[in-house]
Amino acid sequence: MHAKKIFIRDLRDADSKIDLQMELVAGKDGLGKEITVGDINRPGLGLAGFFDFFAYDRIQIFGLGETAFMRRLSPEQKREVFEKFFSFEVLCCVFTHNEHPDEMFVEFANRYRVPTFVTRHRTTRFISLLTHVVEEFFSPLVVMHGTLVDVFGVGVLLMGKSGVGKSETALELIERGHRLVADDMVEVRKIDESLLMGNGSEIIRHHMEIRGLGIINVRDIFGIRSIRNRKRIEMVVLLEEWAEGREYDRLGIDEKRYTILDLDVPYITVPVRPGRNIPIIIETAALNQRLKKMGVFSARELDGRIQNWMRMEGERSDD
């Protein structure tokens, strides 16, 4: 499920690393139309008069070929083609290579409320960028109640009941030079079926509530180096109040997994009690996670060494 409906104006205002460089030239009234299909269409055949299977509900991309073709049409021919083209409920049009549509096109687009954009990008480049942006829009989304921090380049999602100290832990991590992505509410998207990307709600971005202080702006207090807008989630840390008698992981030989949107993320539980330095445990966990990713698994390696040693000892005493 994606949470929000996606409108054409979202393409232009996309909050993404990718800049589509789209400038609106006509059809402003249609910006509120909803995008239901993430695909694109090249309208060349339609312009040439063939409208069977015309995918009017997709984003129409006018490349150099289409613009050159339209330039060769006489005004009468053009009017005829546009009448036909716009009689479909065309979603929106994009002209690439910074080619502006002519007056007649603009007039039609305005009349039929078809948002029309011009982009500086080349056609192929634009299509590939657009695919990225649109895929992100349509990617599965879930909102997690946790705090996302980039610790030594590892995206750590802190989870736990309210009051267990997620925000305080994040604050201490920030103070130690790590970066806050989002506090309390993390939007998680599954990208390309393979990775989980987390970011905060735009409106409260980089603010935190610290009990006793109230709401603070992390960016203003700690500066630009203390924040980032999005981060891939690479591990989940569940903070839990220390319960006497509960068994905690003492070896770390077996990897536990936390499932978010059907993807498994390495997962550890860290018991919290007064005086326990949680941030340094999380830093170490993040570094350990990096080691594991590089193929170094400390707990298993130590276990292997011990088993090896015991075997050798056994052989020696057999002699």
Binding site: K4, V143, H145, S162, D184, M185, S201, I203, I204, E209
Partner: protein, 87 residues
């Protein structure tokens, strides 16, 4: 689990103070409390989470509670919203 839909009528929407009123009330109950707008679920016991929903006047919300005392929690929180966050 109990849930009820409610319409926000207060002109200013749910800004910092109403959010605090809501969270403060939610904290009084042992159950989990969620506030849902447009399919996005916020933790009803977290100010940042509630503010993150960007609730404007006219928004339709769902108040959901799960656990001990869930019924009275939902009743109380819905009436808080209906009464423009005046206790």
């Amino acid at each position: 689990m109990i849930e009820r839909e409610v319409l926000v009528r207060s002109d200013a929407g749910v800004h910092a103070r109403p959010a605090m009123m809501f969270v403060r009330e939610a904290m009084k109950y042992p159950c989990e409390v969620f506030l849902i707008k447009d399919n996005v679920e916020a933790n009803g016991k977290s100010i940042m989470s509630v503010l993150g929903l960007a609730i404007t006047s006219g928004s339709r919300l769902i108040v959901r509670a799960r656990g001990e005392n869930e019924e009275s929690a939902v009743a109380k929180l819905v009436s808080l919203i209906e009464n423009d966050f005046k206790n």
